[in-house]
Amino acid sequence: MSKPSDIKNPQLRALVTAAHDAVRRGDYTASVKHSTEAVRQLLMVRPDVFSAGPRAGTRYVFQPLVGVRVVTEGYAEPVVIFDREKFGIAEALTWYEYALENIVIGEPQA
């Protein structure tokens, strides 16, 4: 099982750690912001890690659908788009797990 300390890049590790800490103190919206920012930054250095397109069979296509998206198409660099302002624990945990797992998998080649 991956954990934030498995992440080598200090910036990404700090963001995922912050997402984890935010869940523990009950600030779920902050946690979602940290997790999505971590994924956004991963995409900055590894734009190929999630290839776009619903038929590509990649993880990117299946980002958690919880009112926030990390988008690459149509922008010069990846952006985080929020459809809502407030998030719950299940949403925060889902994004945290998604960010952690994908960064640990994608980072070695970054």
Binding site: G57, L65, G67, R84, E97
Partner: protein, 423 residues
């Protein structure tokens, strides 16, 4: 490891007609109830029933509480699982869920397993006006309130984002205290881990391999021990997965009997969750079964390869190939569809199933849920498969279950939350 059955109540349309014959829905309900009563007498541990709406042919189970209530009166021991109730309040008001689950628990003498979920097909979300971007938040708030309603006397009320209700005493209360074991639908790895962190049993719908199951079970129990924030008043530490099922005297016979089941299950699942997201399903205007049969099996696999972005021909177009193939779709969702269409772990002779299931048992899986009723698999074939499996395969797993319970007890050492679990 325990064993359960899983029911979507699939009902393909007759090949040459645009709708079902008048008796078809009645027949499928009666057959399923007969299978469950038989499974209970054979010693199966669980039955799980889905809640889906408007997914013609794929699932005709829109009122699982009624179906399970009927099952409760035909059975004595089998656990009656909602797999799952949709708890976004636009589907079901939390008070109605609490009342129905408690009533089912009372009429079944405390045999309910309460699984919840959020749904994801456009047909269902659109039909009830559920906002896709908020459905997880709705599921969480709905579930949290249902559990309070079952456990609190009176329920204190809420002014939430999705539920508003004044103080009321929601009755009846469930037979099991503080509430039946809680589960959540987990079709992705993230959701399995979220289930652990919220103290929910994980109903895995990803057709996991034994290796994946082992990794997930270990991670799940670690999180239950170290990072659990229970959503209920009692936790249900448990990991279950589903697998398409057929058991016959030899592998070829099992494959032949199952052939019109799993592949249609995957085809119709893909239709409603992927295809219909792009070209909306015409209500009462399609014959999925005919569409399915019009495509040769090799072409089904080729299309799936294309969709999955893996090299064409990588699977040699052979849907009978088992799980864990060298080349599989990377995305979990696509991979689940891919695997559902293939032979999987639980289609074969008793010897094949014994060996295959032993690997899941070694992975410390708590519960294997078998999907027998799917596509055009015949009722009599399901009945004989259940009997053969119960006679030839299940006993040794039952004999070894106390060892698993011991392992599980060790995993849960130090957990301070109340536990209500039937594993």
């Amino acid at each position: 490891m325990k064993f359960g059955l899983f029911y979507e109540l699939q009902l393909p349309k007759p090949y040459d007609k645009e709708t079902w014959d008048p008796e078809d829905e009645h027949r499928i309900f009666k057959e399923a109830l007969e299978q469950i009563a038989f499974a209970d007498s054979l010693g199966f541990d669980y039955v799980f029933e889905v809640e889906h709406h408007f997914l013609e042919e794929y699932s005709h189970s829109s009122a699982p509480e009624v179906f399970l209530a009927a099952a409760s009166q035909r059975t004595k021991n089998i656990r009656l699982g909602h797999g799952v109730v949709l708890t976004p309040p636009r589907y079901n008001h939390p008070a109605r869920v609490a009342e129905r689950v408690a009533s089912l628990d009372l009429v079944s003498d405390g045999r309910v397993e309460f699984g919840s979920g959020e749904s994801s097909s456009d047909m269902e979300l659109g039909g009830f006006g559920v906002d896709r971007t908020a459905k997880k938040a709705m599921w969480e708030e709905g579930l949290r309130e249902v559990v309070k309603m079952m456990a609190c006397e009176p329920y204190p009320g809420i002014a939430g984002d999705y539920v508003q209700m004044p103080v009321r005493n929601v009755i009846p209360k469930p037979y099991q205290k503080p509430h039946p074991p809680l589960w959540v639908a987990s079709s992705r790895r993230e959701t399995v881990m979220v289930a652990a962190r919220l103290g929910l049993g994980s109903l895995g719908f990803a057709f996991e391999t034994p290796d994946e199951a082992e990794e997930r079970v270990a991670a799940y129990y670690k999180l239950v021990r170290e990072e659990c924030f229970p959503i209920g008043q009692a936790i249900n530490p448990a990991v279950a997965i589903v697998s398409t099922f057929m058991c016959a005297e030899d592998d070829n016979e099992a494959l032949m009997k199952a052939w019109l089941g799993g592949p249609f299950f995957a085809y119709s699942l893909n239709y409603y969750y992927v295809d219909a997201a792009q070209t909306p399903h015409p209500p009462a205007g399609k014959n999925l079964w005919r569409d399915f049969l019009s495509i040769p099996p090799e072409e089904h696999m080729r299309r799936m390869e294309l969709r999955a972005g893996i090299p064409l021909g990588a699977s040699a177009g052979d849907p009978k190939q088992g799980l864990g193939a060298e080349v599989e779709p990377k995305s979990e969702t696509t991979r689940a569809l891919w695997r559902a269409a293939r032979r999987g772990a639980t289609i074969g002779s008793p010897e094949f199933l014994r060996q295959s299931l032993k690997r899941y048992e070694d992975a410390h899986l708590d519960l294997m849920i078998l999907v027998a009723q799917c596509g055009m698999v015949k009722h009599e074939d399901i009945m004989s498969a259940l009997e053969l499996f119960a006679k030839e395969v299940m006993p040794e797993f039952k004999d070894r279950h106390p060892q698993h319970q011991q392992w599980r007890k060790q995993q849960l050492q130090g957990v301070e939350y109340p536990i209500n679990s039937s594993i």
